[in-house]
Symmetry: C2
Subunit: 209 residues, 2 copies
């Protein structure tokens, strides 16, 4: 169950793992994390939060300190802060450890990668290699197709396909570098210490194509 939106689930869980947060902040952090283009809609986020609530993976956090607020105890306006439950932490750890096609697909890979700092080195390499292999499969197919059509398409179509090809080739090289680094610096810091506190930021998503 809950096959769809697994990437979003993981992103939310991972961010709440760092610190409790409310929906609005969560949206910004998710956009910053895997942003560059498609912006996460509330129509996607809130239903997701509801489902996670139902499944008991997250829960409202009633103990909110309102730190930084000048007036002291002055009530901020109504907001719902969520925090991870024990089940949520367990489920997230489970998501982190799993490496399969679900970690290599386009949307999902980014989320997995974003939480590499909490992933063990073995899984990291497996995910990176899976991703690279998948891209290379595609490259092979595209190269064949390109060779077959090369002389029959106009120069713009050709340029577009060529540019796409080079983009993927570039990503493969990037992955290879990461894999090498991972292998050579074997067994270094698997988990980074959490930063002081979440901050806001904004980015846009890049589609490249």
């Amino acid at each position: 169950m809950a096959k769809r939106g697994a990437a979003l689930d993981m992103a939310v869980l991972g961010l709440l793992h760092e610190a409790p947060m409310h929906g609005y902040e969560l949206r910004k952090r998710v956009n910053a994390l895997l942003g560059w283009g498609r912006v996460l809609s509330y129509g996607t986020l809130y239903p997701c939060l509801k489902q996670l609530l139902r499944n008991g993976l997250i829960a409202p956090d009633t103990t909110q300190t309102l730190s930084g607020s000048p007036g002291g105890i002055t009530g901020r306006r109504a907001r719902i802060v969520y925090k991870l439950t024990a089940e949520g932490k367990e489920h997230f750890a489970q998501l982190l450890a799993q490496s399969g096609p679900s970690s290599w697909d386009d949307d999902t890979f980014d989320v997995h990668f974003a939480f590499f700092a909490r992933t063990d080195a073995q899984t990291r390499v497996r995910i990176l290699e899976g991703r690279r292999n998948r891209l290379e499969e595609r490259l092979e197919g595209v190269r064949v197709a390109l060779a077959r059509t090369r002389e029959r398409v106009d120069k713009y179509t050709l340029a577009l396909q060529q540019h796409g090809l080079e983009s993927v080739e570039r990503e493969v090289r990037w992955l290879n570098e990461l894999i090498d680094t991972e292998r050579s610096g074997a067994g270094h810091d698997a988990v980074a210490p959490p930063r002081s506190r979440p901050r806001r930021s904004q980015r846009r998503q890049h589609p490249i194509k």
Copy 2:
């Protein structure tokens, strides 16, 4: 009206402009054209065709020669071949000439670019520059955000964002080269002669991120 799916509409119209085609073939051609990842579903294509039919932009083509079929007149199995109507051609030309935000957005740009061979030089430059400017706006925002968070995120998040940044920078350079070419080779072949006949091919779509 018909704001959504404008990219798909344009792709279908443009492909049918080259040669009449049936749905199955159309799907393959569209995937090859702006493929690399997301695959066009029949659940998307057929409703689109229906709407274009309703709007009178395409029509069933009853005069099908079945060339290449060995048995001569032997009937191929049932299939619906679509062709552009006069209104369709006019509408397509209109889509080609328009350059605005709708030509710069992620999905739409590819389609516009794919039909550059039928677009006049002036519009080509306007679209390319619009696209580049949009990407540079994003870049600026991302660079600021990156500078603000640089020291507070783990190296994997940083690597991911860095790679995304470089991908977009690379695309900007690509666009600049195209613009230069367009300006220097001013007024060259605006329209390429159509190729003999459509052929099949298959590719996947690349998302890069």
